[in-house]
């Protein structure tokens, strides 16, 4: 699995040549941490380097595609929307969690090799792909749905603009796991609910239409719940949607304290 660090073919990626504000093309090297579960030689975790030709507005995802499509088809990663909305491609780029499709190469210093690794704290399945089940399990645990009692109204529930704004920030979550897998507490044993679950709990706890806040607070008032957060802010830095994750966690903590005293 040694890669060819040759120049790519001349026609490669004319895709964004004509993009406005394009800068000249440049060469970029990606250093990718790979894991092949089926490797015969037992060497199933290696670092691999690839060099590709990139253009001004190319993103890390474009470079990964170019590698997969032109050099090594076995390079494996998830992706779908390619513009930061589906949450498939959170990975560790130059040591930090980001979405490959939202990270422009020119913004991560392409002069040096760019390191790409899977996100931390979740079991790696292959190359940059991790098992998301534990992550979604925590999400499901916090009852991420509107809980109401009584009869359904015949029209919409009324909600003031201010009440709607109260939880707007946390509705933006795309469940990419960039936050949870950047959290030093989550890395330790993977038992912590993690910021993403708390963010999604926050989205309902502070929704004026919801009546399940008490239950959710109870769930997160766990040894593995909000109290494990040590305000390291890695989650907030990592969130590609710009959600103030730590702030949301603090608001949930405060709601619990108010409830307890």
């Amino acid at each position: 699995m040694t890669a060819v660090a040759e120049n790519t073919r001349a026609d490669a990626g004319t895709q964004t040549d004509d993009a406005p504000g394009a800068v000249a093309s440049f060469e970029v090297t990606l250093k990718i941490r790979r894991y092949n579960p089926e490797s015969e030689h037992g060497e199933n975790v290696i670092w691999d380097e690839f060099t590709v030709q990139a253009h001004g507005t190319d993103r890390v995802l474009d470079a990964l595609h170019k590698i997969k499509w032109e050099q090594d088809g076995s390079l494996t990663f998830r992706r779908s929307c390619a513009h930061g909305i589906c949450g498939s491609d959170a990975m560790r780029i130059n040591g930090r969690n980001r979405l490959a499709c939202k990270t422009l190469l020119k913004d991560v210093n392409p002069d040096k090799p760019i390191t790409v690794e899977p996100i931390k704290g979740l079991p790696v399945v292959k190359d940059l792909v991790v098992d998301m089940e534990p992550f979604f399990a925590s999400y499901r645990e916090i009852m991420p749905f509107l809980i109401t009692s009584g009869n359904e109204p015949s029209r919409e529930r009324i909600q003031s603009q201010a009440d709607r704004d109260r939880f707007d920030d946390t509705t933006k979550c795309i469940l990419c796991a960039a936050c949870t897998s950047s959290c030093p507490v989550f890395w330790t044993d993977g038992q912590y609910f993690g910021p993403a679950a708390i963010v999604n709990a926050h989205r309902f706890i502070f929704d004026s239409r919801d009546e399940g806040a008490q239950q959710r607070l109870e769930i997160l008032n766990d040894k593995e719940g909000v109290w494990r957060c040590r305000t390291t802010f890695n989650c907030t830095e990592a969130c590609p949607r710009g959600i103030q994750v730590t702030k949301a966690i603090q608001e949930v903590k405060r709601a619990m304290i108010t409830r307890a005293f």
Binding site: T2, N44, V45, I46, D131, N221, D222, K223, G225, A260
Partner: protein, 153 residues
């Protein structure tokens, strides 16, 4: 083309996943609040302590039996130091407990470390408390040169 081999055993993808156990309750909440409350008090206590011990006069060089003895004849410093001892020990022990919880993932290791921690806590707090209360500033058979001035008043 650096290849850094390292063996890695990874079980089948999509392990059915479940949280090990749910441990709900206000315990962590109280401990969290306590860390903050005690932190605020400790600032006053510790900074006062440090200031008096290290900054006033000749600082550390002044500390000796007589100095300590002199301080503990006053109930004010007795209470001060007692409070500091207890709060710091609770605060610190609780902090280290969190750290053990974080990093010791095997139940057994966790158990052993925590037992040691609590043992250290009990011994230290007991000993310290004992000393502060049963302290005899002017032991009868001691070399008078070492004693605080109050012993001679």
């Amino acid at each position: 083309m650096t290849t850094t081999p390292s063996a890695q055993v990874i079980p089948s993808p999509r392990d059915p996943y479940a949280r090990r156990k749910t441990t709900r309750g206000n315990y962590e909440l109280y401990s969290w609040v306590f860390m903050r409350a005690s932190g605020v008090l400790l600032i006053v206590l510790i900074f006062g302590h440090l200031f008096v011990n290290l900054m006033v006069g000749e600082g550390v060089h002044r500390i000796d039996f007589a100095f300590v003895g002199g301080k503990w004849t006053s109930p004010f410093w007795q209470v001060w130091d007692l409070l500091m001892l207890w709060l710091a020990m609770f605060h610190g022990t609780n902090g280290v407990r969190t750290i053990i919880n974080d990093y010791a993932s095997r139940d057994l290791t966790r158990g052993i470390l925590k037992t040691l921690l609590y043992l250290a806590f009990v011994i230290t707090v007991a000993l310290g408390t004992l000393v502060i209360f049963t302290f005899e500033p002017c032991p009868a058979n001691a070399d008078p040169a070492l004693l605080a001035s109050i012993c001679f008043e």
